[in-house]
Amino acid sequence: MSTTLEKTPATTPAFQQVSLARKTKNGVATVLIWLSFLIAVVPLVWLLATVVINGVKRIPYSNWWTEDFGSVLSDEVGGGVLHAVIGSVLQGLVCAIIAVPIGMLVAIYLVEYGRGKLAKVTTFMVDILSGVPSIVAALFIYALWITTFGLPRSGFAVSLALVLLMIPVVVRSSEEMLRIVPDDLREASYALGVPKWKTIMKIVLPTALSGIIGGIMMALARVMGETAPLLVLVGYSAYVNWDIFGGEQAALPLLMNNERVSNPFDEGTVAFDRIWGAALTLVLIIAIVNLLAMLFARLVAPKKK
């Protein structure tokens, strides 16, 4: 050992002699930091395992996907969640139809026109809006739609509340995508005498489109998991209801909550299977929408020069 040491060059790096205290601190920090990551992974795995293990009992059967709970008793095995899937998808789509144009216009404003104070305030308010609790959004729509306008509780009222929650997410992701579009493209278009609005519609938007769609789908997946607006703004129905403007309409989170409140939901009960089956269905739908979003996003990943 000592002979090899003597042979090494005289310029041994000075910082090889790290004191024990510093080494220990470094070691402790490393362990803690690794540990904190593992701590966060535990609940995720635990949560997903719970949903899959408890939820998988019913969903492989075809009637889970093709029937509603209207024809079965609340403690009777059978039926399915078709009514809730229809409600969730309808309410989500109607929400997207309203929220996406508004969100994209705001994003275009911020990227292409926004200068000065109004743009700053808009950015700030979009951020604040993204922090508005879903129950507050629901109460606002309740105060506006039901108390002030005197309209009935409906799936559409839910969609309106979801719009408030979806707009900030759409603005954020669209803004990011629009900013990636190289300025050369815009300038080339202006140089050819194309008006600004046409440049935006025909050049800028198509370039960013698949990324924007990816962001929209992520936002959609998020709002489809919301429960609070459903509680306040629509009643639960065990039957399929295609009418979004009237009557009671189910949605997956609402179904879960309804089963939880109205039936004993200990392990082995029908409500237990229904709740976790619906949970797994919801997670599957969200996963599919997210996968599609990632696919779209990959399609457009900003082209590197």
Partner: protein, 305 residues
Amino acid sequence: MRPGDRIFQFLTTGAGVFVVSLIGLIGLFLLVQAIPALQADNVNFLTSQTWQTDPNDMKFGIMGLLLVTVYSALLALIIAMPISLGIALFLTQYAPKRLARPFAYVIDLLAAVPSIIYGLWGLMVFAPTIEPVSQWVNDTFSWIPIFAAGNVSPDMRGTIFTAGIVLAVMILPIITSLSREVFERTPTPHIEGALALGATRWEVIRTTVLPFGKAGYIGASMLGLGRALGETIALAIILTGAVGREFTWSLFDGGATFASKIAADYAELNNEISAGAYIAAGLVLFLLTFLVNFAARSIIAKKGD
């Protein structure tokens, strides 16, 4: 300007103005709807802990809701802050570059799980698991007020303790992802400088990454706090109501937060006068989250300049 341009600019700017005015509209509509109930209120709205919404004898105050809301959110924050810091440091400084992205994605998945599923998992799976822990803490440290026996059933399930831990898991991703973004922007020369002076990995973090990212990390944590304050359905499921009992600062109390109270009693919205009490509670929640988010965004925006 060409007419097409004028119309387009008007549309996008209009969308921006619309989003800005939304925040004001939410506050305004909630306030207008809350006023009649507040006038009929027979106890002090701000200081009373009772919540009675009998239309003929309105006695409702927010103090009980406020205490439970803030207490559970702070508990969540105290748990989530160090863990998020650890994960953000792990992702930016420790994880191999190739794995950092997938790892970050795994943490983001926690945010994609609908909160109703967190609630069900929290009450049915997580609470029974940590019951021995809470029982032991309660038995051993009951002389400390926050660990004293609370006012809900002794099985320790629907407590602020359980709710706080579940909330902590729910706000981990938002704190982590924002902190990670800030830590990533630590100037490389700073890190290299510290390394050249012989600093250990932990010393590099302590002397360069942490000071640089401190403001962003605090801002991110406040956004997490805002999220925890407004969380609705998970808390409505987990927390067991403690009827007629005053708040005692015990972690093993039950209770209701603003959001969980509104979600649990949504049926009362059908009575116009009772509804006002809940809308007033919603207004207070809105103001609370607005202030927290406002402060958080201000901190983050200042750092960005």
